[in-house]
């Protein structure tokens, strides 16, 4: 089966509108080629933690153009997998007030880029995540008779609660819990490595300036002085 071969020129989650257009296009192409793996669920029976086929695409090489990056490998997740990934990353990082959800910042596309990368450093994630996404749907079918993406928030939480806390992982679900933890790391990293993520954390660097380094403003020094004094120490002529 052929898969989508979109070439991404870096993921720039510029505006939600652009992003959803990109996502729609990709999903459309995926749907064209994904065949009958629709939401009937039958295909998922018997799926276990079986390694997906390895990637044989080319990487960007040892001397790529650093100023104009290109991601040359084809994406490989199918529509079902993208749908499960989208539901999962939004469970991990849902929208919150003004803060967008993980999928609104293109995290599912990043997951696809990541597990489709032709590198040894991503192979273990590919072998964990692709079967993991299938497991999510299989488990959802078995517990709630619906795909993961169609579960209610309470049902999704019921599943996630078995996986998300290292000290109370449900017995027998160690592998799905490993998958969940890896998806959580990748989701958080992908979320905060965006313009919106930078803004949310408050990062104000990557801005050249002239003259000496400005250093901490008075309120930042005051904060440290109070912190240090609370520990019985003192800031010694540093500011």
């Amino acid at each position: 089966m052929t898969r989508t071969t979109l070439i991404l020129h870096g993921h720039t989650p510029a505006t939600p509108l652009q992003l959803s257009r990109r996502s729609s296009l990709k999903w459309f192409l995926a749907a064209l080629t994904a065949g009958p793996l629709a939401a009937c669920g039958d295909d998922l029976k018997g799926v276990d933690w079986i390694a997906p086929p390895p990637i044989d695409a080319k990487g960007y090489g040892t001397d790529p153009n650093l100023l104009e990056p290109v991601t040359p490998w084809p994406l490989t997740l199918n529509r079902t997998e993208i749908a499960a990934a989208t539901a999962l990353v939004d469970l991990i990082l849902p929208a919150d007030g003004d803060a967008p959800s993980a999928s609104a910042l293109g995290v599912p596309a990043f997951i696809d880029e990541w597990v489709s990368a032709p590198y040894e450093s991503q192979r273990a994630d590919r072998e964990l995540i692709i079967p993991g996404l299938a497991w999510l749907d299989r488990e959802a079918q078995s517990r709630f008779q619906r795909l993961f993406m169609h579960l209610s928030p309470e049902e999704k939480s019921a599943m996630a609660d078995d996986l998300a806390y290292p000290d109370r992982i449900k017995q027998g679900l160690e592998k799905p819990a490993e998958f969940f933890a890896r998806m959580r790391s990748l989701t958080i990293g992908a979320y905060y490595s965006t313009p919106q993520g930078w803004a949310e954390l408050g990062y104000v660097g990557n801005r050249p300036s002239t003259g000496p380094y400005a250093g901490p403003p008075p309120e930042a020094v005051d904060h440290v002085r109070r912190a240090v004094e609370a520990l019985g120490l003192k800031l010694d002529g540093l500011e």
Partner: protein, 562 residues
């Protein structure tokens, strides 16, 4: 490709990194006609992605086998593996060898940390009976450090601390201000007796020649197109070129030093990597600055008539005494740093402060169970957010954002950089079977740590624990047993020592000027000549020694001795 076969140069310099760049600069300044041979491709500092963001890069810039230090790292055609140029490790040994194939070599991406070696470091054997003394003293090298730091541009301050020498007056650039978390850490250090002082880095904080002062952005490992972070491609090499006396041939993989009938070096043979053809170049003197590994490989692969042990190797020391820096890491989380006011903490990107080794007195009194020192490199702050888990190890949903924000700017990373002593189990040799894509036999590495290094790890772990406790923090990374905590040989990319200098031709490869004992006009100017591996990062010392070697060679060229 430039055809140099018909020309005779005053000097051939093999390599264009710290040693090669400085050698070519000094020799051309002195009037010599120099040929520089670089195995990699030409490199333009304007290629550096100074302000590119993670979301523009594949995998948000994460490291891969193509670009081990991330997409934006300056390294070209290199990393832990170079395509078609393998190396091997002997059974039971692990060794990692970072190379690049580009003009300027590894100076395009290094950390720019520039700590002088001190009096103890040059005479370690005299102090504790271990390893080898250098044939030079700190006092002899000090003026060269001053001149090198002035030329290169190094920020820092004179601390007067034991075995951490001051620079001459007016030499250093002002260090950047401490960030808030660094002030916090210093307060703890003052309380527990760990010195937290301004670091020294080869980064300009005022404009110099055509180079611009640091503009307080852009990770230095990407290369620095404004010239603030020192690399030979924005300084020594263009300056040497400006004399009109430097010819550079890139894509020139040198594999042999050629001798004349009198046993003097007459030139080198190299592969033109584009065509695969063999070429030859000749000169009155040959300077090898190919790197610790490649210089040893070149000598071992050069076999003048009847010398199966290789060139300049009557001592048997070529390839021996391979050392790397001792590395280990701990991270800690400090609740007291939560919620602090956000501002731009990029600064000079790398170290503003560090903790130089402080326990020499107790060591001299026999109270420590390891012989040499280490320093702590310290990172933290509101760094540019990229991929990472942001300290989140459980849960999902609403709590994640708050947890990530709490952790951001509240974590400090402590990195140990310590001295390794040479040992009989750590060396490189020519692999009897394997050859690279050009047919050149490759290196095989042997490597083992000893208790001297492992015991030092415990001292570091205890010191960090004490400091973190005093500041109300928690160590968040596993505190491993030393044998597990210690870095792999070569991993810190400070490998040195394979052609050590010394006073005795029977136990060393070169004299104090980097002149090989066996071949009067063959010089080594790179990390290979180090007689010991102080905990101080080696590049500034490679530069200072190469300057001294270069002037020595220039004098002999001028006097007609060569």
């Amino acid at each position: 490709m430039v055809d140099v076969s018909g020309e005779t140069f005053d000097a051939i310099v093999v390599g264009s990194g710290a040693g090669g760049g400085m050698s070519a600069y000094v020799l051309t300044q002195a009037g010599a006609k120099v040929l520089m041979l670089e195995a990699g491709r030409d490199y333009d500092p304007e290629e550096a992605p100074m302000l590119n963001t993670p979301w523009e890069a594949p995998l948000r810039g994460a490291g891969t086998s193509d670009k081990a230090f991330g997409y934006y790292d300056a390294t070209v055609d290199g990393g832990w593996e170079v395509p078609g140029e393998p190396y091997t490790a002997a059974e039971g040994s692990k060794f990692m060898w970072w190379r690049s194939r580009m003009l300027g070599g590894r100076t395009n991406h290094w950390g720019r940390n520039s700590f002088r070696m001190g009096p103890y470091d040059f005479k370690g054997r005299s102090r504790d009976g271990l390893g080898a003394d250098w044939p030079v003293t700190y006092e002899e090298i000090a003026p060269w450090y001053d001149r090198t730091e002035k030329l290169v541009g190094v920020y820092g301050s004179n601390t007067g601390l034991e075995n951490h020498p001051d620079s001459g007056p007016g030499v250093l650039h002002d260090p950047p201000r401490m960030r808030a978390w660094e002030m916090f850490l210093k307060a703890g250090g003052d309380a527990v007796g760990i010195p937290i002082v301004p670091a020294r880095r080869a980064v300009l904080t005022r404009d110099m020649d055509e180079r611009q002062a640091c503009y307080w952005a852009s990770p230095c490992g990407r290369g620095c197109s404004i010239g603030a972070a020192f690399q030979t491609t924005t300084s020594l090499i263009p300056w040497a070129k400006a004399t009109g006396r430097l010819t550079i041939v890139t894509g020139a993989m040198v594999f042999e030093v050629v001798l004349n009938d009198a046993g003097k070096a007459k030139g080198v043979r190299y592969i033109d990597t584009a065509s695969g053809e063999q070429r030859e170049a000749s000169a009155r003197v040959v300077v090898l600055s190919a790197s610790t590994g490649e210089t040893a490989r070149l000598l071992l692969n050069s076999k003048p008539a009847g010398r199966s042990e290789g060139l300049a190797n009557s001592s048997g020391q070529v390839g021996r005494n391979l050392m790397d820096t001792v590395g280990s890491d701990l991270s800690a989380y400090f609740p007291a740093l939560e919620g602090r006011p956000i501002y731009n903490e990029d600064g000079a990107q790398g170290l503003h402060i560090y903790a130089p080794f402080w326990d020499y007195q107790r060591q001299a009194a026999g109270e420590l169970d390891f012989p040499r020192g280490y320093h702590m490199e310290i990172g933290g702050g509101f760094n540019q957010p990229g991929l990472g888990a942001y300290g989140v190890t459980e849960g999902y949903g609403a709590g994640i954002r708050a947890a990530a924000k709490r952790q951001y700017g509240s974590t400090i990373r402590f990195t140990q950089r310590g001295e390794m002593l040479a040992n009989a189990n750590s060396f490189c040799e020519i692999d009897p079977e394997k050859k690279d894509r050009y047919g050149i036999p490759v290196l095989r590495f042997h490597f083992a740590w000893s208790d001297h290094e492992l015991n030092q790890i415990l001292h570091f772990q205890q010191a960090v624990q004490t400091l973190v406790d005093r500041l109300g923090g928690t160590i968040t990374s596993p505190i491993q047993a030393p044998a597990d905590a210690i870095s792999t040989g070569g991993q810190i990319i400070h490998e040195v020592g394979t052609c050590r200098m010394g006073d005795d031709p029977k136990t060393s490869v070169t004299d104090g000027f980097g002149r090989t004992w066996d071949v009067d006009n063959l010089y080594l100017a790179d990390g290979s000549v180090f007689a010991s591996k102080a905990h101080k990062n080696p590049t500034i010392t490679i530069l200072a020694l190469a300057m001294r070697t270069g002037e020595h060679v220039a004098r002999r060229l001028q006097s007609g001795e060569l």
